[in-house]
């Protein structure tokens, strides 16, 4: 009786272990070599294909599996995901197109926002986070800009801040006391001097 019980427990243990291993072993099946940006994302030459880190990949898969935003996005096309060379607050930035033609900008496993694809007339995707609220660590404003955009200007607490775009990425860390709701995009300035207002 005791032997049967021990065998049963060992079997359960093995099943649990196997389940855990299979969960961890879900690979980056959509990995591709770096190449030119896809039309579904837009002109973002610094981005690379198939470089999602494990936690970011798991996050995107979980969002798909749970149907988060599915009515709007359909499935995220993970095989077409691209990553940006600059991390923001330690998080990997990614772009992943969707079945419905939308484009997700993700900040690791923290925030994903859903946009129209990038273009010359829609040159900037931007979002902001502030996990600890007013006080403490200030807000982080970040985003991706198309090729040719040299800087992005934001308004925070009524003051304008112009942030350079490096490798298609821009990041701005606001002051601790900055009012989160006051953040607003103002404009994108192209390298040729053209300035485009942002909504």
């Amino acid at each position: 009786m005791g032997k049967k019980l021990r065998i049963g427990v060992v079997a359960v243990g093995c099943a649990v272990l196997a389940t855990g291993i299979s969960a961890v072993a879900v690979g980056n099946g959509g990995a591709k070599a770096a190449g030119a940006p896809t039309p579904s994302i837009g002109p973002v030459s610094s981005s690379q294909a198939g470089r999602l880190d494990a936690s970011t990949l798991a996050r995107i898969q979980a969002l798909n599996n749970k149907g988060v935003g599915a009515a709007l996005l359909g499935q995220r096309l993970i095989a077409d995901a691209r990553t940006l060379p600059t991390r923001v607050d330690g998080y990997q930035l990614y772009l992943v197109p969707t079945e419905t033609g939308k484009l997700c900008l993700g900040l690791g496993n923290s925030l994903e926002a859903w946009f129209d694809p990038l273009s010359q007339t829609h040159p900037v995707l931007s979002a902001a986070v502030d996990d600890d609220g007013p006080g403490g660590v200030g807000p982080t404003v970040y985003g991706v800009a198309t090729d040719g955009v040299g800087s992005v200007t934001f308004s925070i607490d009524g003051a304008q801040h112009t942030v350079p775009v490096t490798g298609n990425v821009f990041v701005f860390h606001g002051a601790s006391e900055a009012i989160f709701d006051s953040i607003a995009p103002v404009s994108a300035t192209f390298a040729n001097g053209k300035v485009q207002a942002l909504k």
């Binding site: 005791g2 019980l5 021990r6 049963g8 427990v9 359960v12 243990g13 649990v16 389940t19 996050r59 969002l63 988060v68 935003g69 009515a71 709007l72 939308k102 496993n109 923290s110 925030l111 994903e112 926002a113 859903w114 946009f115 129209d116 995707l125 931007s126 979002a127 902001a128 986070v129 502030d130 996990d131 600890d132 609220g133 007013p134 807000p139 989160f180 709701d181 953040i183 607003a184 995009p185 942002l198 909504k199």
Partner: protein, 132 residues
């Protein structure tokens, strides 16, 4: 009598072993169920209209939320966050600009909220939901 004590001890040890093994098994089963449990979701704005004056939609209860999300019918500037009514603490803030929505992973005990950023002059139909 001298030989019975070791046999008694051996039997007792076997009994303890069986109980321990059974306990480990039970814990493993409980762990499996806990790990695969589906979190509850509150859809606290279900096709509601978010107004440009910044008035938020609010979850009906305070929970230990782990995820907050918003989806809009047209792109706009939104803000989702967790707000503790007792302490006034506002955490897990996320904003998207000219976007159709987004999903934020961040945990706290609070109400979940979503609203449009003020000043853009339009109202938008939205869905906001949070997991706990």
């Amino acid at each position: 009598m001298g030989n019975m004590l070791p046999r008694y001890r051996a039997a007792t040890r076997m009994g303890h072993l069986r109980k321990s093994v059974a306990l480990v098994g039970a814990l493993a089963v409980v762990g499996i169920f806990a790990a695969t449990a589906t979190p509850a979701t509150t859809t606290y704005c279900n096709g509601c209209t978010l107004h440009w004056n910044g008035t938020p939609a609010v979850s009906p209860t305070t929970e230990y939320f782990t995820h907050n999300a918003v989806s809009l019918t047209t792109a706009n500037n939104w803000h989702i966050y967790l707000y503790n009514v007792s302490t006034g603490n506002q955490t897990c803030n996320a904003e998207g600009f000219n976007t159709y929505g987004g999903a934020k992973t961040c945990a706290n005990i609070a109400t979940a909220r979503c609203h449009l950023l003020q000043g853009y002059g339009v109202s938008v139909q939205a869905t906001c939901w949070a997991n706990f």
